[in-house]
Symmetry: D2
């Protein structure tokens, strides 16, 4: 990866649903997928407005014939072509993820989907089963999970450097929606409407990010029960929450907390991960992602910097630039996408076992994110009580 050295041999023919003109996340997907030519964008159903979608595709240099009015048309046509897309990214409102993903899988197309994968665990598990049956992958874009310092944190935990894990402190708490900004900004509106967003706002939209990162760093932790309290400080958002705190008891005695908020006034993103073990802790913050704080009790705190030779080799292989120069969001996303490409390549070759050690947010991550939100909502709706994790 360093110096742009490519890891896959082929380039995945790729399409998008949603992510059209004016979509921020659409741009992030394309930036990540096209970064080092792991993917080649050849088709799209970018917009509910077919003409606008076609114009946008043209801007991107696509064959107009492969700019479709809707995803069904795209999947039908593309799966009939010999040079049809092998993978599709879905960047549409939450309520459509399930049906679009299912349609893609049924058409034999790999799926890369925005979180949440579905509204219910049952739906997510159905997609997972479908993908497995068809030999396809599902990727879920937990963007920062691709960062090298998350890999380093995972390696430190795996090495035993932290001792036994005791505490998992998670946070994704920004302040950008401390007022009802959605009233003036239609693009933000669907996020607080349960018909489009599903049963939660910040739990699904923000909290699942650090949750997944914690699963990457501490793969052995299993939630036994949890408790969630959620609030709608901007009243018009009810029943969806704009702030929530979740407590988690893990099998074996570890304890977790996750604070998520869109009303943490004055804060930037505030995505922070702190894992506390019996001997040491690691802490990571998405606003300064190139540093990882490693604190051994009784020793000076250490600031680990991305790209340095003292890191685990697997924390170095995704570097695009040497230490000292910051990498940001886009590199982290691009890391996810090249792993998706690797996974697709292995599946298409009929050799999924080749990538069994490849870490990427797949179908299981999709299912588990939905399951966690479902449990949180159940707890919150019962008045913030402990519920066994189902």
């Amino acid at each position: 990866m360093i110096n742009g050295e490519r890891i896959t041999k082929s380039t995945v023919r790729w399409g998008m649903v949603g992510g059209g003109k004016g979509s921020q996340i659409g741009y992030v997907h394309r930036s990540a997928a096209l970064r080092d030519r792991y993917f080649d964008l050849v088709a799209g159903a970018f917009d509910l407005n077919a003409e606008r979608g076609r114009d946008f595709g043209a801007e991107l240099g696509l064959d107009p014939a492969r700019c479709y009015a809707d995803y069904r048309a795209m999947f039908t046509s593309e799966s009939a072509r010999e040079d049809g897309i092998r993978a599709v990214s879905i960047a549409t409102p939450n309520n459509t993820h399930y049906e679009i993903s299912r349609a893609a899988l049924e058409a034999g197309i790999h799926v890369i989907c925005e979180k949440p994968l579905t509204f219910t665990t049952a739906e997510a598990e159905e997609l997972q089963a479908l993908a497995e049956a068809r030999g396809l992958i599902i990727g879920v874009t937990y963007g920062y999970s691709g960062h090298q310092m998350i890999e380093e944190a995972a390696r430190l935990v795996a090495s035993g450097a932290l001792g036994e894990i005791r505490l998992v402190n998670l946070q994704f708490a920004h302040g950008f929606h401390n007022e009802p900004v959605e009233l003036a900004n239609p693009a933000a509106k669907w996020r607080v409407d349960p018909r489009f967003a599903g049963p939660s706002y910040v739990l699904g939209d923000l909290a699942t990010h650090p949750l997944y990162i914690s699963e990457v760093i501490c793969p052995d932790l299993k939630i036994r029960r949890l408790l969630c309290a959620r609030q709608s400080f901007v009243a018009s958002r009810a029943p969806l929450e704009d702030n929530a705190i979740t407590l988690m008891e893990y099998e074996g005695g570890a304890f977790g907390t996750l604070w998520t908020s869109a009303v943490n006034a004055g804060s930037m993103h505030g995505q922070k991960i702190r894992i506390v073990g019996s001997k040491a802790s690691v802490e990571w913050w998405d606003e300064h992602p190139n540093q990882l704080r490693f604190e051994v009790q009784g020793e000076p705190a250490r600031i680990l910097d991305r790209g340095m030779g003292y890191l685990h080799p697997s924390s170095l292989i995704d570097d695009r630039i040497g230490a000292g120069h910051p990498e940001g969001l886009f590199e982290s996303w691009a890391n996810l996408y090249y792993r998706f490409a690797l996974a697709i390549e292995a599946h298409d070759a009929g050799k999924p076992e080749q990538i069994k050690d490849l870490r990427y947010p797949g179908a299981k991550a999709g299912v588990e994110g939905v399951r966690w939100v479902e449990n949180c909502v159940r707890s919150a709706d019962l008045g913030g009580v402990w519920v066994d994790y189902q």
Copy 2:
């Protein structure tokens, strides 16, 4: 205060119970009380070992006749002298606070006591009533609450600069006891023994500090119900906890969390206060106490520095040195002590109304700290459920 300008005219004759040779907190009390001659140390019952106590008093320059074998003897003798002590500081294990405080008040002596004031709310309220009846003060040493930047945070909240308070995020989570250090360190042993420490370890010992600071900053918030989960990661500490998380619902809809820990491996003290309002937040950290972060949503974060002219006048009057030079723990404690002196002076003059605007942790703070721990323990012992705040 700047340049050592004194605020009271008289000097309070003062004694100590506990805090003898080898006591760290005893030294902190003396450093604070004697700092600018607000108090004059003239008597003490420093040690369970009378001879060692007397020797220690001699080291401090005390009249040996006023170095007592126990607190009862001290209170009896001193209250009989015309030049007897007017105030006593109690720096003994928790289980003795109630009886010593009561004895002092009954002897007509003002009380300055380490937290927790007592084991039960009922006892604390009894002391409060006793103090009121006798025209005496009770001071509780929540050391950092005397810091000027806490005053500034309170002023910002009072000014409406934060809007309506929504979230109270509190933390006091260090890592120094990640292993059972008490086994080798007798001085730490009583803190994890319920007979001496009372019904909690970190909830009472650590958590009540940021809790009181939050009460100073947000005096209008009243807890409606709370939920506490506590753990003993070092198993030998059970039933006392070395880690706990408390959720608080306040009247009016604000929500609070308080994380306290002695097993946050690798962390220094980690006492952090973040108050989030509908418009802005303030954040303070005891390890860098001279800075207060003030974050207005949609504006650049501001770093407020102690001693600067843009602060509220009441955040400047306790400065001992100009801006740029850091003040630390000792100055904060000394601020508390001079306020205790002011309160004592006013009560002794029969004019307690003179100091009705003086902010210091008094009897009410003592009661409320005990009450909070009691509610936390009740919730935790019921399995971490919501309990109405009693």
Copy 3:
């Protein structure tokens, strides 16, 4: 730019000299140029070894016929084609920049060159004149100068918010070469060999970066005289320096310092810019490039964050992702490249006046960087004395 909105209509046909297999900087150039399809890589003379260069071009998807054995062949062939390259990037050792740039300009091809543009000011001015005569641009890749927070700093200075500029404090001082790492790393070797690197090591390689940024932020400052002291702490590097300090007196009384080092052991890149005015200062650090510190005397320090609405509009237009998500080195470089594309488009349209307000490191920046190093070396070689700036 936000959401990938393109600013130019056409895509510039583009080639590279150097930057082949294993070249880090080559990858950075391509990442930046291809980021949003402002450039299209169609030709290259990537390697001194023609076969290896062709293989590398093939990896990148180039037509083998346009993978050339050397730059002369490329310029000749490409300038003869109707669809020949319009621009070339030069990522070769310093000693070749002048001749390759001249050849490109003579062939009518726009030049984007690594710094230093040449070894001598005379050569650089010759290239500048040649480019002007042919209606071509020269771009010099001072990578971080494209960052939005540098634009914001420039806007703050231009607005008068800092008052009169008094001090310019510049630093680029890393520690990666505290030992003679070049002995084991041939790729680093040429940088300390005057035949390939020119008359300086860190002055030319590092110092010109913050120097150019200071020129962007304070365009009105003109150096009147300077003094430079340089050292070779790793003796084998002499006569080239691995550490240097330069003092600068500007016309009008402002004063500047620039510390550059490759032996600042333990430091990461340490590129820092602090501009002090009579009323306020700004400070920027390349390791956390999304924040700009703005300090008005007598007011709380402000932390400005990239992407926030309170920034100058021109500091927002280059954003690729909203506030809170960090952008890093690659985005900053990509900003430079799209500006090069804009400049090329305007020149090719015969309308260079269209972009007279476009800020990018052009021929003048190239000349001035070489001139500054030349003056520094002259001062240093005279024993670290003041020399009038020539």
Copy 4:
């Protein structure tokens, strides 16, 4: 020292010249000297206005008979008493330091003096010789040099952990005088008047602080030649400077820079020390004095915290409170004063060799500070040229 454990047996009878009502630095001296009863304030010539001085002494609880109209009267009377002062602290404008110090020494009284000790090196050396002849000490209050983390930095250098010292980067650059505040503030006025301040403003007033700290950390470095450029950005301060940069060549090849300023707009104190060795660096900042950054090339940066067991034992013995709680300016000053007390005790016992390893800013530090300023001024007045260090 921890827990207030005293190190000397006796208490030094002590007087002050200057430092009267409204003096900030006077309060700092008293706070430090009286902190743990190492000194006992029994006499003073606090004020040019004798009556005001006497009133102030009364406020401090002094015998009015020992509140003198001037220092001569004090030295005469006190040296005639059996219980007369053994030491005096001098907190008066710079122009009086020499004559008062000499008078004290001649009266057989130990001297603790604000820097600069004198205006000229010759005078300082005269005082040094006088003190030696009389068996008296001279202490100079470089306040932060008493901080434990400075000791730790010195220990790290002495241990060889940094390798050979290459670079000394010093800074004391605040912004509080970016405007001519002295026009409105008489207390600040003398500092910019050469008759009272001597030949420099910020060089003597600020720069000598980090200079002395660098001597403590790197005792083996000897300046061979230096170059100083100074400016008066507030024109009315000329010929005294409010900003200066000094370059220093040390014997053996190390190189130093010292930036000092009172016009670094928006900055707090900004006293920073960075020592760069061939293997590692240490960095300290007076605004967060409890942390020391230790950076070994190729390893994660380490944050060392005051009070932690991994520090050198000699970096722990001055702790007054355990790790995690910040100590500030007052503790650092108090550390100096107790060392002065130790030195006085040893000299009065006729055993100065007892304290030959005691580190405190003594006569030599006073001489060297004056010498350095003298050399800086000489260089600056010659136009900022290199001058051999004399």
